[in-house]
């Protein structure tokens, strides 16, 4: 798939992605598709945009993702939605 041997950080990112998909499986079907699409677009966007060497930012995103995953795992949470905000230069 990717490199021959994955680095520790790459493994963390993949396990976070797997965690999100597993959490999505426990939600109702329609919300499950929405969660999966949001999570996959977010991960793919970051994999292209974020520099591989920018460890501080990647760790920041991992921590943010882990917190969001803990929130999503709770049975009270039903679905995930995202809003696109365009930063305007005023």
């Amino acid at each position: 798939m990717g490199a021959a041997k994955l680095s520790g950080m790459q493994k963390q990112v993949l396990s976070l992605y797997r965690g999100f998909l597993r959490a999505a499986r426990s939600k109702p079907t329609e919300d499950r598709k929405r969660i999966e699409s949001i999570v996959s677009t977010e991960f793919r966007h970051n994999s292209k945009e974020v520099d591989r060497k920018n460890f501080q930012y990647i760790e920041y995103l991992l921590r943010l993702g882990t917190k969001q995953l803990d929130q999503l795992k709770s049975p009270d949470i039903v679905s995930l939605s995202s809003v696109k905000v365009v930063a305007s230069k005023t």
């Binding site: 974020v50 920018n54 501080q56 930012y57 760790e59 920041y60 921590r63 917190k67 930063a87």
Partner: protein
């Protein structure tokens, strides 16, 4: 009666109006004088002080940097928090920091000022032309600028179960559990803790083991519940923290007592716990 009332109302109204009328121009002229003084002192450079503040934005991630801001101390309150608010209001609205009470009781504005942890609202700006460096609490993950991730710290506080636990119900059910003055005095020096995290983030032992060592703040609170005469789970509380990492990473460095903005001594409380572990 009616005349008297009307008379009194008539008598008070104009004075109230005149007071209001007096207030409004006073406010206008005060801001006018401020603007004038800013213009004049800005040109003259009277009592300018440089603040070097740690900046890192997760939206434009790069390397964190120290950004310089010059503040005229004549136009600014005496505390570091006043300077930060002035910078945010007038110079750079994107500067991000936590603050709430501005009187040293909430613990939100804890940060590292000139190398020492403290509350920005209680730390006076050092007079003189030397630059003041403001960075977030050391060895904590940074969310943005001076805001750090406190979840690990709060989870450690939660783990010591900081509430009263009893095996037997109160002697008079529905009423308070009584405590003598001497027993209440045992809690002095521990109940005042505001959970600002200045002590824990100044402890080198906590820097090297933040997930396993509980840190001075959590241990201070653990001692607060252990020493509470109304709590009946003392033995279980002592056993829960009697761990190589949770308690015994403390090597009495005592940076915590130096950093505490409320003047508490977490190191002393940790020593008390260690003594109880020895004897019990």
């Amino acid at each position: 009666m009616a005349f008297g009332l009307i008379g009194r109302v008539v008598g008070t109204k104009p004075s109230r109006l005149s007071a209001a009328v007096r207030l409004i121009p006073a406010r206008w002229t005060s801001t006018g004088s401020e603007a004038q003084s800013k213009a004049s002192s800005g040109g003259g450079g009277a009592n300018l002080k440089t603040f070097q503040i740690y900046r890192w934005n997760p939206d434009n991630p790069g390397k964190p940097e120290l950004q310089d801001y010059k503040i005229d101390l004549k136009d600014c309150g005496p505390m570091v928090l006043d300077a930060l608010i002035k910078i945010k209001n007038e110079m750079d609205p994107s500067l991000t920091f936590r603050r709430s009470c501005r009187e040293g009781i909430c613990g939100s504005c804890a940060m590292n000022i000139d190398g020492c942890n403290g509350l920005a609202c209680l730390t006076k700006i050092e007079s003189g032309s030397k630059e003041t460096t403001i960075t977030p609490l050391p060895h904590m993950f940074v969310i943005k600028d001076l805001v750090v991730d406190m979840t690990n710290f709060y989870n450690q506080y939660k783990s010591i179960e900081p509430w009263l636990k009893r095996k037997n119900p109160a002697s008079v059910p529905g009423k308070e559990i009584l405590q003598s003055k001497k027993d209440r005095a045992k809690l002095d020096g521990m109940y005042e803790c505001i959970l600002c995290a200045c002590c824990s983030t100044s402890c080198p032992s906590y820097w090297w083991n933040p997930e396993s060592y509980l840190g001075p703040a959590a241990l201070l609170h653990a001692n607060r519940w252990i020493s509470d005469s109304r709590d009946e789970y003392t033995k279980e509380r002592l056993e829960a923290i009697n761990d190589e990492f949770k308690l015994y990473r403390c090597h009495t460095i005592l940076n915590c007592a130096r950093a505490c903005p409320k003047g508490l001594n977490p190191g002393k409380q940790i020593t008390h716990i260690k003594q109880l572990q020895q004897s019990g």
